[in-house]
């Protein structure tokens, strides 16, 4: 069986044609222009994954009330909404640096929720300046 798929790895968005055997296993990928496109097609039918980007509530900053975050690696697509629920229970504290782990082993062991923005501690929150 052949199935068509748009590659989401990069902005080129190659049209992929994937051949599946009777067990739903990918046996051939055509239309990709790079190795990553091939890998994407291979996993998309067995274990589709997406990088989640969202925000968590932030305290300790004068400028920002929310911190943009992302998963350090793609998480299983069916778990995106479960992940969003969990995100809503989290809170980060300024100062934060890009790459800081906001939640370790998020949804899956070895995948962290990490900060995407450098945010200083606000003067009104900094005890040393009071």
């Amino acid at each position: 069986m052949k199935k068509n798929l748009t590659c989401i790895v990069c902005p080129i968005g190659c049209r992929l044609e994937v051949t599946l055997d009777d067990n739903g296993k990918v046996v051939d990928v055509a239309g990709n222009t790079c190795k990553r496109g091939h890998d994407y097609a291979m996993t998309e039918f067995t274990d589709p994954r997406r990088t989640l980007t969202t925000t968590v509530r932030l305290t300790g900053s004068d400028s920002d009330s929310f911190l943009p975050v992302r998963t350090s690696a793609p998480i299983p697509k069916p778990k995106l909404f479960e992940a969003m629920k969990k995100v809503n229970t989290l809170e980060a504290n300024a100062p934060v640096k890009v790459g800081d782990v906001i939640c370790a082993d998020f949804i899956e062991d070895g995948i962290n929720l990490i900060a995407c923005k450098n945010i200083d501690q606000g003067d009104s929150h900094d005890n040393s300046k009071r």
């Binding site: 748009t6 049209r15 992302r70 969003m84 890009v98 995407c116």
Partner: protein
């Protein structure tokens, strides 16, 4: 005209274009304290601060970054280099003598004479007013970018049941974002028979969440008194006119508009800079210099880009050129201009003209957009009856910017022809006609 103070380089706008232009000018010998970036928002970074999704930086860094991560890298560079900047500051005018008038909480009302100015003011969204959608004027109608700011920065949800008009990338990204945050996105309508967004955004923002995309459809009425209660959606014909009898009422509380971006050039107009009717941005030469000497433009203020990576590259050219202008007092004596024309479905090209500099350039890069989807075409650059460059394209679309690069040998050839114009065109194949 009078002025109070001076800087070698003033950069209007601290988004990705302004940050990159500043850094490149710094690397080309302009002292960091002689550069001033003037930013209107409370922080540097521009629109990328609210673009929290991933997909930026593949060309520049070889990895996929979120918007804040991408701009964050340039903000760090600027801070580490000691390049000057002010935030919460608004430029009121730029004169043709490069006197920049602005207001700033720290500096007050300032008239600053600049050795060179780079306009990096970005773009604005088209609004409901630009579309003339009939109906009432209730709350709940937002441009997609405004909704994006509410959700990602301010932390407010604009609504629960959402219809999105326009399938540009911002509309698609917001369809996913609103869905993840718990809203029901009922449908995305697109006036054109094709989406203006990237194919991968259709896949990962709509298909992933079973959000239907209605091509050749538009909103023909908005209902609701205090708050949006629903919209009427109609199919359109090939002339984009609504077809009577195809109306369908969809109950919703929110309408997001993602219907195009317009370069912001009020300041450029005040300076007397000639604008390109099609791009909405300044007319520039290969140095990204506008028609007013010493004023440069780049990024979305020049023409709307799909990828920030190309904004950065363009800003590097503008920053480098501004530094050269400051140090040399201008560019080498020109022997005339080459006007860059377009045809065959190419809507525009940037730069719009070339100065015939004394030294032949090492490289010339042209950016352009086409007016429709074409398959199996050749993008070509012609001058003096010769084809200087020909690139095969499997598919081109209005939503995806194309580029052509002339190498050193091709630049030498172009200059040796002694022409006053060149033409960038699409060569359509017989295969396409089928």
């Amino acid at each position: 005209m009078e002025f109070d103070t001076q800087k070698q380089l003033v950069i209007v706008g601290g988004g990705p274009a302004g940050l990159a232009a500043a850094m490149e000018a710094f690397r080309n010998g302009i002292a960091p304290d002689d550069i001033l970036i003037i930013e209107r928002d409370r922080e540097l970074g521009g629109i990328l601060n609210q673009c929290i999704h991933a997909g930026f930086g593949l060309h520049m860094f070889g990895e996929e970054l979120t918007g804040p991560e991408y701009s964050g890298r340039f903000i760090e560079e600027v801070k580490n280099a000691g390049v000057g900047y002010v935030t919460n500051s608004m430029v009121l005018s730029i004169s043709d003598e490069r006197i920049v008038t602005f207001v700033s909480p720290e500096m007050g009302f300032v008239r600053m004479k600049a050795g060179a100015v780079v306009i990096c003011t970005g773009c604005r969204e088209r609004t409901r007013g630009a579309l003339n959608i009939p109906g009432t004027r209730p709350a709940g109608i937002y441009s997609a970018g405004t909704a994006q700011r509410y959700v990602n920065i301010e932390g407010f949800m604009p609504g629960k049941r959402v219809v999105i008009l326009g399938s540009g990338d911002i509309g698609l990204i917001m369809a996913r974002r609103m869905t993840l945050e718990g809203a029901k996105v009922l449908r995305v309508c697109e006036l054109m028979p094709y989406s203006g967004g990237l194919a991968r955004n259709i896949a990962q923002c709509l298909d992933d969440f079973d959000i239907p995309l209605y091509l050749s459809h538009t909103v023909t009425e908005i209902r609701g008194k205090e708050r949006v209660e629903g919209v009427v959606i109609s199919k359109v014909d090939e002339n984009r006119r609504p077809i009577p009898g195809t109306e369908e009422y969809v109950e919703c509380d929110t309408l997001l508009l993602s219907v195009g971006l317009i370069p912001e050039n009020e300041l450029a107009k005040l300076a007397g800079i000639e604008l390109d009717r099609i791009t909405g941005g300044a007319v520039v030469n290969q140095y990204n210099e506008t028609t007013v000497k010493g004023i440069f433009a780049c990024g979305n203020a020049l023409h709307v880009h799909d990828l920030v990576d190309f904004v950065t590259r363009e800003a590097y050219t503008a920053g480098r050129s501004a530094a050269k202008f400051i140090k040399d007092g201008g560019f080498e004596v020109a022997t005339g201009e080459i006007i860059c024309k377009t045809s065959g479905g190419v809507r525009y090209t940037v730069p719009q003209k070339l100065i015939k500099s004394v030294t032949v350039p090492e490289e010339l890069k042209f950016y352009m957009r086409v007016d429709n989807i074409y398959k199996n075409v050749k993008l070509e650059l012609h001058a003096g009856g010769e084809t200087l460059k020909s690139v095969k394209k499997r598919s081109v679309a209005p939503g995806e910017m194309e580029s052509l690069t002339l190498g050193a040998a091709e630049c030498a050839k172009l200059y040796s022809l002694g022409v006053n114009e060149l033409e960038i065109t699409l060569l359509h194949s017989e295969e396409e006609a089928k």
